[in-house]
């Protein structure tokens, strides 16, 4: 029953069946449906022709009075559908069959691919020109409607097209996808046939195929998402260092691994300095504990030296100034939270403020403290004048506007990045393959064919590199050929450096 209701999928198989089974159980179900008007359509399949002849007779009007009219109408339905579908399907199939070819032809078009690459390059350049990831107000201010850049470029463009987050904007990703499909289409239409031809002629390789394929390999790297980034709780040790929050949670949580049942404990965070006072390296002493509180691993991380444990990698990515611990007129210690101040460039600057006097008034004045690193704190008085520099732990008091301040400690925070990425070997393998194939594609490869025709030798050759030097090289080689007629057809591969 069900097969008959749905005969269009594999029409050839079901037609004989309908014919056979019809008398037994079909008639009662299908007779009310008048489908005879469709019967005149020509049948494309030979088996169904028989059916048609019987129906043709019936449609002449002779068979209507017959007892088995009802039973005959059942195959009509099935036949009608059988007939209609292959035909319509055939048309559609033709279109569908042609469609990919047309799309392929369009996609593998070289100017289109070049245009796409230019677009990608242009969008990337635009992405560096427009500040990324700011609030909409920033763009309102920077690209005002009253004074558009180049006469048309306003914040509307930026926000509508998503240029405030260029590298994840639909426009950019769409172009990348288009470029990727172009590359695949090109691989399909040009490279694979090339390889086939190359195989037949037993060439070593085709340089273009490798060069073109590598693009598709590079792009995904940009968006390889971290599989899981987990946030871990904070840990304290004494008053010395605060375990900061994990910086940059860039991924989504995925199925946690065994190693997730591990507690991370920051024992110590410290920095190395050059003699000039600049930060040379920062380290975090980390301990990993399992659920029973047993230490399973301990390592001091630094930049470029991550900790790896059970598929999770912990990176030392950043540091920050968490708080400043001070004594005010012998009271305290107080912890003043340090705020990062943005200035030009990448240099870090942190600042905090200690109110002095009436803190309830609307115009609070106080002492400002600035620091570039954990080594020295610069203090400014109420008027904003430079008051002095103190090092934490020096215990040396400084008196500003009648307030005696001792800087007890500078509490840093460590920026750790946790990541688990099982795809790393695959990506590295891709990188390696890409490097290798790029190098291979520049290997020189030449073929020389010679054909004996009577007393003359016809020599032809081709090369993938050093095309201009190749004829000279061959001429020089041919000059050395002695004037003796050889009688065998020879094939001589030759490598010429290019």
């Amino acid at each position: 029953m069900e097969t008959l209701l749905n005969p269009s999928k594999t029409p050839n198989l079901f037609i004989p069946k309908t014919h056979l089974f019809k008398p037994y159980f079909l008639h009662s179900n299908f007779n009310p449906q008048p489908h005879s008007s469709f019967n005149r359509r020509p049948l494309s399949i030979t088996i169904t022709c028989k059916v048609k002849t019987s129906q043709g007779r019936k449609n002449d009007g002779k068979n209507i009075s017959k007892k088995i009219v009802l039973t005959d109408s059942a195959p009509e339905l099935s036949n009608e559908e059988i007939k209609a579908k292959p035909k319509g399907g055939g048309k559609a199939w033709g279109v569908i069959k042609k469609f990919p070819k047309r799309v392929l032809a369009i996609l593998s078009n070289l100017p289109l691919a070049i245009g796409e690459m230019f677009t990608v390059a242009g969008l990337m350049a635009l992405g560096t020109a427009i500040d990324q990831g700011e609030s909409p107000e920033y763009y309102f201010q920077k690209y005002p409607e009253e004074n558009p850049i180049f006469g048309f470029f306003t914040w509307r463009w930026v926000l509508t097209l998503g240029f405030d987050h260029m590298f994840s904007s639909p426009v950019f990703l769409g172009t990348l996808i288009l470029l990727g499909t172009s590359l695949m289409a090109c691989t399909y239409t040009t490279q694979i046939p090339l390889v086939k031809v190359a195989r037949r002629w037993s060439f070593l390789q085709s340089a273009d195929s490798i060069r073109k394929q590598e693009f598709s390999d590079t792009l995904p790297q940009a968006s390889v998402s971290d599989l899981g980034v987990i946030l871990m709780g904070a840990g304290y040790e004494g008053l010395n260092f605060v375990m900061g929050d994990v910086l940059g949670p860039t991924g989504f949580l995925s199925t946690p691994t065994e190693a997730f049942n591990t507690e991370v404990h920051v024992n110590k965070f410290y920095m190395d300095y050059y003699d000039s006072g600049e930060v040379s390296q920062f380290h975090t002493d980390l301990s990993l504990f399992d659920m029973n509180g047993k230490e399973v691993m301990r390592k001091t991380l630094s930049v470029n030296d991550p900790l790896r444990y059970g598929g999770i990698t912990i990176y030392q990515t950043d540091w920050s100034f968490s708080a400043l611990q001070i004594l005010k007129d012998g009271e305290g210690p107080f912890n003043l939270a340090m705020a990062p101040l943005t200035i030009n460039g990448d240099k870090k600057l942190f600042g905090t403020f200690l109110p002095v006097g009436d803190t309830d008034s609307s115009n609070v004045k106080g002492i400002s403290m600035l620091a570039r690193d954990l080594q020295s704190i610069v203090l400014y008085d109420k008027q904003g004048k430079f008051a002095g520099v103190r090092r934490p732990n020096s215990k040396l008091p400084i008196e500003i506007d009648g307030t005696k301040i001792v800087i007890v400690d500078a509490i840093g925070s460590s920026g750790l990045d946790l990541k688990t990425d099982p795809g790393v070997p695959a990506v590295y393998a891709g990188f390696g393959a890409l490097m290798l194939t790029t190098c291979i594609s520049y290997l020189s490869h030449a073929q020389i064919w010679a054909l004996q025709d009577g007393t003359t030798v016809i020599v032809g050759g081709k090369t993938n590199r050093a095309k201009a030097e190749f004829p000279d090289e061959i001429n020089r080689l041919l000059d050395q050929v002695p004037e003796i007629v050889e009688s065998s057809i020879s094939k001589k591969p030759d490598n010429i450096g290019g």
Partner: protein, 320 residues
């Protein structure tokens, strides 16, 4: 102390030798006589001396700073200069028999980069021997050396393309001048597309044009070769950078301006290769793309540093 003196001496020797070489080049260029062939050979020897001087300079710096000499802009400029002279040397020794026009590009490039590096603009940077935390890795050697070598080669190649463009357009203007009756209606772009046909015509016109045709062909070929080489270096450099970033920060790619511009450079030269696969676009059009690449390399190398933003800001100017 002894190291800085040695460095000083080497800088000066290489700089003065390269300037002599340039002078000889100009002489050979303007005089175009056979008597200066000997002079030409001496200029080649001069380049060899320069090469060893710069190598010595880099080695000295490496020894006394204790890290690979590629941590700031000054060092990378010296390295770039070294890259130019290396390309010069390789092409000289590989094609010993023939004089090639690559040396006309590499020698001035070497002197300009070196002149810029040692000029007053960057004096403050010479002594800074500290290495930012993120740079303290063995990957520095691989990544930065590959990138700078790639830049050197790509700059050479794209300069050759610029030379090709200059010669072609000069010739185009000349032909337009000579054949007033047909050339104006064609226009330059049409001319460019039918360059090969026109060249076939001009082939018979005069031997001078034939020589020019040969020259442009040679330039085209050489720029293609050098750019191919640079492209390999750039690819390896970008990929090793991605691997390094993954080791150090845990992400391959951060869309940092320098990275983005390196990728733009890569894309532009990928376009260059694609234009070359089409014989209609070969020659002048690919040279146009390459000269675009020339500008983009400079933006990538300097422009981004001028802004001093992002993860690669340690190579930036400190003009304060």
């Amino acid at each position: 102390m002894i190291f800085s003196t040695l460095e000083h001496i080497l800088t000066h020797i290489s700089f003065s030798v390269v300037s002599i070489v340039i002078t000889i080049h100009f002489l050979t260029l303007f005089l175009l006589v056979d008597e200066v062939v000997g002079l030409y050979d001496s200029s080649e020897k001069g380049m060899i001396v320069t090469f060893f001087c710069i190598t010595g300079l880099l080695v000295t710096r490496w020894i006394y700073s204790g890290h690979f000499p590629l941590s700031d802009l000054y060092e990378s400029l010296i390295f770039l200069s070294w890259g130019f002279s290396l390309i010069h040397m390789v092409s000289y020794f590989k094609f010993k028999k023939r004089k090639n026009n690559l040396s006309a590009i590499t020698a001035p490039s070497a002197i300009f980069t070196q002149g810029f590096a040692t000029s007053g603009l960057l004096t403050k940077m010479h002594q800074s021997a500290i290495l930012a935390p993120a740079l303290q890795s063995q990957w520095l050697m691989m990544h930065v050396s590959m990138m700078v070598l790639g830049y050197a080669a790509l700059l050479c190649g794209s300069l050759l393309s610029v030379a090709l463009l200059v010669i072609t357009f000069r010739k185009a203007i000349k032909i337009i001048g000579e054949n007033n009756n047909f050339a104006f209606s064609f226009g330059k772009i049409q001319y460019m597309n039918e360059r090969s046909n026109v060249l076939l015509n001009t082939y018979f016109l005069s031997s001078k044009n034939y020589y020019r045709y040969q020259l442009t062909q040679q330039l085209d070929r050489w720029s293609y070769r050098i750019i191919s080489l640079g492209f390999i270096f750039l690819t390896i450099g970008i990929l090793s950078g991605a691997v390094w970033a993954n080791e150090a920060w845990g992400s391959y790619w951060n869309w940092d301006p320098k990275e983005t511009w390196a990728f733009i450079t890569w894309t532009i030269f990928a376009i260059y290769f694609h234009t070359r696969t089409n014989t209609n676009l070969e020659g002048v059009n690919s040279a146009l793309v390459a000269s675009m690449g020339f500008l983009i390399i400079w933006i990538c190398y300097f422009g981004v540093n001028l802004l001093g933003i992002g993860l690669h800001s340690y190579g930036s100017f400190t003009l304060n």
